[in-house]
C-alpha cells in the first residue's frame, strides 16, 4: 500500500487543522514577551543587563589589566583610592582609606625633606595609608570558621572537594574585617613568580625591596612541589611596612607623584592570606576554584556566577561598607539629574547580568528590544542611531528618540598614532631632512577625512600625544600643531576660529626641502618608497589601506603596505626593523606622564624593550620629561609641557592621528551614567527603574502571530499539491 494511501487518509485533512488550531490556541493563551531571554522570575527586579564581547582572561587583581577584565575586577576589589565619579578633571578620592595620602620625602640619609623638595634630593617617598574602620570582605568560604573559631576549609583535599564545583557549593561562608595586612599581602603578590603581574617589572624598580623579594620568591618557588603554596607572610618587604592593624606605609624609590594613581588600580587591592591559602589547596585548580576565577573583595559587588563563555553575574555584596552617592560634581551635572541620588547608599542596583555577545547584530537588536540597558554603537548601526550635524555634533535619530534612548558621548583618554622609526635611515633621525619629511607626511594624511569616512566622526584630530581631559591638553589656537595646521580666525566659531590643515603644496615644499622634490631623490632621482608595517590587511582593512596609499600619493610618495601577523609585527617593532607602524595607547591614569613616557628615550624599544616603539631619543625632550613627571599640575608644569609638545610637533616622531570618541546609548530607565574613562568602578552608581523597563519591554515585544499563520498556510499550499501528485502517481 502506498504511503500516501495509508489508513489515516480519511482523517488527514482534519489532523493538520486540529494541530494548527491547537497551536494557535496555545499561542493565543500565552502573554508577555516571547523573545525575552531572561527567566520569568527576574521580571521587575532591580537588575542591570549588559553584555560583554571578549571573555576576561584574568580576574586576579595582580594580573588583570585589560578593559575586559577591569570591567569586572573594578566592581569587586577596592584599592585604597578611587576617582570621583562626577568631577572633571579626574580627581582621586579615598575609597577604603581615610584620606588620599600625601607623600613624605626622605633624603639618602633618611632625613625628612620639604614637600616641594627637588626630585634629585629625594631618595625615598613614603605613602602612609590608614583604613576606614569596619570594612568587611564579601561572604566567602575562605573566611568560614567553626564554633571554636578555626577555619573550616583550610585542610581540604581532593576527596573533600567531591561534589563541589563552584564557590556556592560550600555550605559555610564567613567574613572578616579588612586590615592593612591584606594590602601588604597583595603588594608582595606582585613579585610572585607564578602570577606574572604585568607591572612587576616597573614596580620592582619603584617599591623598595620588591625586586629582591621577587628574586627570593623565584628561588624558593623552585623547591615547591607542583601546586605548592608560597606563604608570602614569611617574607619581609621593606617597601610595605605595617604600622598597625589599619595603617601601612609604602616606600618607593625617589619621587614619583603618579604613584597615587596606581593606588586606584586593582593591582593594589587587598587579597587576604587565608584566601590565597584556601585556593592553593589540592584539587582546587582542577575545578577552576582559583582567585583568577572567583575573586574575593570588599567592593560593592561579588561575582556570583562565572561562566565567561555565556554569562557573568555580579551580585550586591551584603557586607559593602555603606559608601554613598556623591553630592557634588561639575557644572551641569545637577541639571543632567546626576545629583538626584545624592547621599543614597551604594550600590543602587542589586545585580548586574553580563551576557556574552560575540556578534554585534544580536547585541544591537537586544538593546533595541530593551533586553540590554545600554549599548555601544557598532559601525553597522551608526546611521540608524546617530545623525551628525554640519559641525560634527552628534544627535540621536528620530527612531532612537522615539524609544526614549539617550546618547552619551565623550572623548576617550586614548591616543592613536602612526609612528616613524627614528632609527630608520630614510624617515628617521633628528636632522632637518628627517624632520621635514615626517612633517610633510603628517600634513598629507588628512585625519579629518579619515575620521569622517572610517570612524563615522567618532574621533578628534590629534594635535599631540595628550588627549582632552589630560593636564596639558589645550583647546583652540593655543593647542594646535603649528607644523600641520594653521589657525584661521572666525568670530562665528565658539573658539574664535578653527584649525585648518596645511595644504598639500606646503607638504610638497617640505618634502623638497627634505631632499625629495616631487617624491624623488634630489641626487639619484630614485622615487621615495615608504613601508608601513601593519597587522591589518584583511578584506575589511583594504579600504583604509587604499585610502592611506592615496594620502601618500598626494605628495608623490609611494606607500608599500607590509601586512603581517601580530607576532611578526611585535617582533619587528621590538628589533626596530619597521619604518612606519600604527599603534594606540589607553591611559593608565590621567596624567601627561602616562603619554609622554611613550616617547622617552629610556623607553626606546630597540634599545631597552620599553614602550617607545619609535625609538625617539631627544635629549632635550628627555630632560624636560624627567622634570615634568615629578611636578604637580602647576603653571610651571604647563609651560614645560608646552615646550615638550612643541619639540614633538617639530620632530614629528609620530603622525598624531586622533583621539577616539566613545558613544554610548542607554534606555530611559537607566540613570546616573557619565563617561568615565579612567577608574572603571562606575557600576555602583547606576540606577534602574525596573517598572518602566517592564512596561517598555512589553510594549516593544508583543509577538506578531499572523505571519506565522500565513507561513503555515503557504507550507500547506506547497505540501498539498505534492501529496495530490504523489497520490495520482501511486499505482
Amino acid at each position: 500500500m502506498s504511503l500516501f494511501r495509508f489508513p489515516c487518509r480519511a482523517s488527514r485533512p482534519r489532523l493538520p487543522g486540529m494541530l494548527l488550531a491547537a497551536l494557535l490556541l496555545s499561542l493565543a493563551a500565552c502573554d508577555g514577551e516571547w523573545n525575552n531571554p531572561y527567566p520569568a522570575d527576574q521580571s521587575g527586579r532591580n537588575i542591570l543587563y549588559t553584555a560583554f564581547t571578549d571573555r576576561p582572561k584574568h580576574l586576579d587583581p595582580v594580573q588583570s589589566y585589560t578593559e575586559d577584565e577591569i570591567t569586572f575586577t573594578a566592581q569587586i576589589y577596592e584599592p585604597p583610592l578611587q576617582y570621583h565619579y562626577l568631577k572633571r578633571p579626574y580627581a582621586l578620592i579615598p575609597a577604603t582609606v581615610e584620606a588620599v595620602p600625601e607623600p613624605r620625602y626622605l633624603d639618602a640619609a633618611g632625613r625628612p625633606l620639604a614637600a616641594d623638595a627637588p626630585a634629585e634630593q629625594v631618595a625615598q617617598s613614603v605613602y602612609e595609608l590608614r583604613l576606614k574602620p569596619g570594612i568587611r570582605f564579601q561572604p566567602h568560604p575562605a573566611f568560614a570558621v567553626d564554633a571554636a573559631g578555626n577555619p573550616r576549609y583550610d585542610r581540604l583535599d581532593r576527596a573533600a572537594l567531591a561534589g563541589i564545583n563552584g564557590i556556592a557549593d560550600f555550605a559555610h561562608t564567613g567574613t572578616r574585617e579588612l586590615t592593612a595586612d591584606d594590602y601588604i599581602y597583595e603588594i608582595k603578590r606582585l613579585a610572585h613568580p607564578h602570577l606574572h603581574s604585568p607591572i612587576f617589572g616597573m614596580m620592582s624598580e619603584l617599591i623598595v625591596g620588591l625586586k629582591d623579594l621577587g628574586a627570593r620568591l623565584q628561588e624558593d618557588a623552585k623547591a615547591l612541589p607542583p601546586g605548592g603554596w608560597l606563604d608570602l607572610d614569611r617574607y619581609d618587604l621593606p617597601g610595605a611596612e605595617k604600622v598597625d592593624a589599619h595603617t601601612w606605609r609604602i616606600h618607593i624609590k625617589g619621587k614619583y607623584p603618579q604613584f597615587a594613581y596606581w593606588l586606584a588600580m586593582p593591582f593594589f587591592a587587598p587579597v587576604p592570606r587565608e584566601v590565597d591559602r584556601f585556593y592553593s589547596q589540592p584539587g582546587m585548580a582542577e575545578k577552576n576554584l582559583i582567585l583568577d576565577w572567583w575573586p574575593v573583595g570588599t567592593g560593592p559587588f561579588m561575582l556570583s556566577e562565572n561562566d565567561p563563555n555565556r554569562r557573568m553575574v555580579l551580585s550586591r555584596n551584603p557586607n559593602f561598607r555603606g559608601e554613598t552617592y556623591p553630592c557634588e560634581g561639575e557644572a551641569g551635572d545637577r541639571q543632567a539629574g546626576l545629583l538626584a541620588d545624592c547621599g543614597k547608599v551604594l550600590p543602587l542596583i542589586d545585580q548586574a547580568v553580563f551576557t556574552r555577545e560575540k556578534e554585534s547584530i544580536p547585541y544591537w537588536n537586544k538593546f533595541l528590544q530593551g533586553y540590554y540597558d545600554a549599548s555601544g554603537i557598532a559601525s553597522d548601526n551608526f546611521d540608524q542611531a546617530v545623525r551628525l550635524g554640519g559641525s560634527g555634533e552628534a544627535t540621536l535619530t528620530d527612531e532612537m528618540r522615539a524609544q526614549g534612548i539617550r546618547l552619551l558621548a565623550g572623548v576617550r583618554a586614548s591616543t592613536f598614532y602612526m609612528g616613524f622609526n627614528l632609527r630608520d635611515p630614510v624617515v628617521g633621525g633628528l636632522t632637518d631632512a628627517g624632520r621635514k619629511l615626517r612633517q610633510a607626511v603628517s600634513i598629507a594624511i588628512d585625519q579629518e577625512e579619515f575620521i569622517s569616512i572610517f570612524l563615522n566622526g567618532r574621533g578628534v584630530p590629534a594635535m599631540g600625544p595628550l588627549p582632552p581631559g589630560i593636564f596639558g591638553y589645550e583647546d583652540g589656537k593655543a593647542g594646535i600643531n603649528p607644523r600641520v595646521y594653521d589657525w584661521v580666525a572666525d568670530p562665528a566659531k565658539p573658539e574664535g576660529g578653527e584649525a585648518r590643515r596645511k595644504s598639500v603644496t606646503e607638504a610638497k615644499r617640505l618634502l623638497a626641502e627634505a631632499g625629495w622634490p616631487n617624491g624623488r631623490n634630489a641626487k639619484t632621482g630614485e622615487p621615495l618608497v615608504l613601508n608601513l608595517d601593519t597587522t591589518s590587511g584583511g578584506m575589511g582593512d583594504k579600504a583604509r589601506l587604499d585610502w592611506l596609499t592615496r594620502q601618500f600619493a598626494k605628495i608623490d610618495v609611494q606607500l608599500v603596505i607590509r601586512s603581517t601577523d601580530f607576532n611578526r609585527f611585535q617582533d619587528k617593532v621590538l628589533r626596530g626593523a619597521v619604518q612606519m607602524y600604527f599603534l594606540g595607547w589607553n591611559a593608565d591614569y590621567p596624567d601627561p606622564e602616562n603619554f609622554f613616557f611613550l616617547l622617552h628615550g629610556k623607553e626606546a624599544k630597540a634599545v631597552s624593550q620599553g614602550e617607545n616603539a619609535s625609538n625617539y631619543i631627544n635629549p632635550e625632550f628627555d630632560r624636560l620629561f624627567e622634570r615634568m613627571k615629578n611636578m604637580e599640575n602647576t603653571p610651571e608644569r604647563l609651560a614645560i609641557i608646552r615646550r615638550m609638545l612643541a619639540i614633538l610637533q617639530d620632530d614629528a616622531p609620530w603622525v598624531f592621528s586622533f583621539y577616539p570618541k566613545s558613544y554610548t546609548l542607554s534606555h530611559a530607565w537607566l540613570s546616573n551614567r557619565k563617561p568615565m574613562e579612567v577608574g572603571n568602578n562606575a557600576l555602583k552608581y547606576q540606577r534602574i527603574d525596573p517598572v518602566l523597563r517592564e512596561r517598555r519591554r512589553a510594549e516593544w515585544n508583543r509577538p506578531v502571530l499572523w505571519p506565522l499563520l500565513v507561513g503555515i498556510l503557504l507550507v500547506a499550499a506547497l505540501v498539498v499539491p505534492a501529496l495530490r501528485q504523489a497520490r495520482r502517481r501511486a499505482p
Partner: protein
C-alpha cells in the same frame, strides 16, 4: 569483526601521533614561545624577564623536539613536544595557557554544543531524506523541477544570510523567540528552536539534491522494477527498498559526522550566543594557546577516527554482503 576493530584501533595510534606531530610543527612554525608569552602577558609594560619567566614556568624554554644538552632518553623526553604531547594519550589535557583546566572547559561546553547540533542533525536528516524521497517520487513533474530549482537557490545562499534573516524575521520582526542566549535544561528550548530551524533549512538545498540523485539512481535499477511488478505500492518501494539500498552512500556522509557533532558549530554558536565548543579552538588559535589547540585537534582526530569506524560498522547493518572477516 573484533579483529577488525582491534586492527583499526591500532592504526589509530600512529595516525594520532602523526596528527599531533603535524599540529605541533605547524603551530610552532607560526608562533614562537616568545610570541605565546607576549600574547598571554599582554602588550603593555611586559619585560624580557617576565617573558623568560613565563616560558620557564610552562616548559617552553626547552628545545622543541631534541634536547642535545640532555642525557639518554631525556634527549627526547626533555623537550616541549614530549612534555606537551605524552599525557594526552592517557586523557590528561592539562591546563590552558591561562591556567584554566581544559577538560573542565570542554565538559562545560559540550552540553550546549550537543543540544544544538544533535536536533539539527536528526531533524535535518529526516527532513532532507523525506523531501528527497518525495522529489524522487514525483520526478519529472513540475513539482520536481521547481523543487530542484528551489534546492539550487537555497544552496546558493550563504549560511550567514539564513542566520541574519532568521534572527531578523523571527526574533526582531515577529518577536517570537529570543534573538540569542542560552539556558540550561528545558528552558533551553526557546533559545534552540530558531538556530535548529535555521541549521536545518540552511542545509536543505544541497542535501536534498544529493539524496534525490542517489534515490533516482536506485529507482532506475532492476530490483525496483521487480518490486513494482510484484504490485508493491510506491511508498513501500521507496521506503523499504530504495531507501535501504541507497543507505551506503548516505551512511558514508552521515555517520562520520555524528561524533563530531560534539565539537559544535562556530557560526551558529557565535550568532546565537550558545556557549558551546564551536569557538573554543578558534579562540585558542587567536590567543596562541597551544595547550588548547593540541587538545582540541587531538579530540577532533579521535572523533573522526571513531566516526570512520562507526561508518564501516554501519555498512554491515544495511548491506549483508559487507563483512570484515
Amino acid at each position: 569483526m573484533f579483529a577488525y576493530l582491534v586492527r583499526r584501533l591500532a592504526y589509530a595510534v600512529p595516525i594520532l601521533l602523526g596528527v599531533n606531530l603535524l599540529t605541533f610543527a605547524l603551530f610552532f612554525v607560526v608562533n614562537t614561545p616568545d610570541d605565546m608569552a607576549r600574547m598571554q602577558l599582554g602588550v603593555k609594560r611586559v619585560t624580557a624577564e617576565a617573558i623568560a619567566k613565563w616560558k620557564a614556568e610552562r616548559g617552553y624554554d626547552k628545545p622543541l623536539f631534541f634536547n642535545g644538552a640532555a642525557d639518554g632518553t631525556a634527549k627526547l623526553t626533555d623537550t616541549i613536544f614530549y612534555a606537551k604531547s605524552a599525557r594526552m594519550f592517557v586523557g590528561d589535557f592539562g591546563a590552558a595557557e591561562d591556567g584554566r583546566d581544559i577538560a573542565r572547559e570542554i565538559a562545560t561546553r559540550i552540553g550546549p554544543s550537543t543540544a544544538l547540533a544533535v536536533p539539527t542533525f536528526i531533524v535535518g536528516l529526516l527532513v532532507t531524506v523525506s523531501a528527497a524521497l518525495l522529489l524522487a517520487f514525483v520526478r519529472g513533474t513540475r513539482l520536481d523541477f521547481w523543487g530542484v530549482v528551489a534546492c539550487v537557490a537555497a544552496m546558493s545562499v550563504s549560511g550567514l544570510f539564513y542566520i541574519i534573516f532568521g534572527q531578523w524575521l523571527f526574533s526582531k520582526a515577529l518577536r517570537l523567540v529570543p534573538i540569542s542566549g542560552y539556558a540550561d535544561g528545558l528552558s533551553a528550548f526557546k533559545f534552540l528552536v530558531l538556530p535548529v530551524a535555521i541549521g536545518v533549512v540552511a542545509g536543505l538545498g544541497s542535501s536534498i539534491r544529493w539524496y534525490r540523485t542517489l534515490f533516482i539512481e536506485e529507482i532506475g535499477k532492476d530490483y525496483v522494477r521487480t518490486a513494482r511488478a510484484k504490485g508493491l505500492g510506491e511508498g513501500t518501494v521507496l521506503f523499504r527498498h530504495v531507501l535501504k539500498n541507497a543507505m551506503i552512500p548516505i551512511l558514508t556522509g552521515v555517520v562520520v559526522v555524528i561524533p563530531q557533532l560534539f565539537l559544535g558549530s562556530l557560526l551558529m554558536e557565535s550568532f546565537f550566543g550558545i556557549p558551546g565548543l564551536g569557538s573554543y579552538t578558534i579562540d585558542a588559535i587567536n590567543a596562541q594557546d597551544f595547550s588548547v589547540v593540541r587538545a582540541m585537534v587531538f579530540i577532533g582526530s579521535v572523533l573522526y577516527i571513531a566516526g570512520l569506524i562507526l561508518t564501516d560498522l554501519s555498512y554491515t547493518l544495511v548491506d549483508p554482503r559487507v563483512r570484515f572477516d
